[in-house]
Symmetry: C2
Subunit: 211 residues, 2 copies
């Protein structure tokens, strides 16, 4: 059993709200993607928070510095999860974990491009990170990479933290990702690129929630 | 001779515009800080672009993925420089350089938390990066670090690219940073924390422009 998360990767404010409206009943978590939050600012979070009380919301801040300062207003505005880069200084990661705890919310450490994923995962889990994000970026996917090997590595550590997996997951690979230990499964293009995004989201969620 | 850059680190839209109005005549480049752009979105860039035609504007995107896609709208809206993380995948860095070139603008690679700064600097300079950002983050400054050693390393490579230095620079250290090879000197707290921010900006710029 894993939760599903829909990545809202558009830049347009209204298109993002419209897509969220279509898929919100069929996924657990709505994700405001990094380009989307930089483009639209916190007002988009406030809008989604008000419109979708039944979904968790993740803001993919990918924070690299000033952890506490940058993330605090987003938790305050209703984000359930914010992300911080695993590549960041450990003080930055601690800042986001601290401010998540202050608001009773969660911090996700994104392993994108981290060189020693095992060491960093163990370090941030010890520090209290709530979620480890196994993440093959869009530019890495374009170069043919997938998140499966990294998921196996992180799951094998048995740290008892949530594990989120992002990077080209689709209906056909959801069961594999779930069974490999993911507790949050992120889909983006597989949903918004589908002829029927709501049906695609429902299909992926049904597989994620099973077993 | 170096240019000066003022880091706008507030989250508040109106306070940011007000501070920019005070310091714009006294610095070369206005920087929209990372927390500030995530909070306010591209509308802040559009506002500053319209109000300050005589300043260059840097948007500190600290891009980590989807380089071309994330940075393009900011260049389109008038940013002269966008930043991409040196920790990012090389495809992401290339994406920001490519889109900067598409608009006749500049891409800055931020060395914050890069493990092998020498190798990465040589690699991205070869790729066409316009500016190398030597950057001691706020969380690293709080732990007592400074950018001086890294500046010496990057300047010694003699790559013929611009070198921007950020990390607690103030009037008392501006000459040292300039003489060590910085071509862009960033000040934040030294200006906005001063009793007279305009006078502080003018003082730092006078030193940066000298020699």
């Amino acid at each position: 059993m894993a939760l599903t998360q829909m990545a809202l990767d558009s830049l347009d404010f209204d298109a993002t709200v419209a897509l969220a409206t279509t898929v919100a009943p069929h996924v657990d978590i709505l994700e405001i993607g990094t380009p989307c939050i930089k483009h639209n600012g916190i007002k988009l979070l406030e809008t989604l928070r008000a419109k979708f009380p039944n979904n968790k919301i993740l803001v993919d801040l990918k924070t690299m510095d000033a952890g506490f300062y940058e993330a605090e207003p987003f938790y305050k505005a209703g984000a359930d999860i914010c992300t911080v880069l695993g590549c960041a200084d450990i003080g930055t990661i601690k800042g986001v974990i601290d401010v998540a705890n202050k608001y009773g919310k969660k911090a996700q450490v994104d392993l994108i491009n981290v060189a020693d994923k095992k060491a960093r995962t163990q370090e941030v889990a010890k520090l209290g990170a709530h979620i480890i994000g196994v993440h093959t970026g869009l530019d890495q996917q374009a170069a043919g990479q997938t998140p499966f090997a990294d998921l196996g590595l992180v799951a094998s550590l048995g740290l008892g933290v949530d594990i989120s997996v992002a990077g080209g997951v689709k209906a056909g690979t959801t069961a594999q990702v779930r069974d490999a230990g993911a507790t949050i499964i992120v889909a983006g293009a597989a949903i918004y690129g589908a002829a029927d995004p709501a049906a695609s989201a429902a299909e992926i969620t049904a597989i994620a929630h099973a077993a």
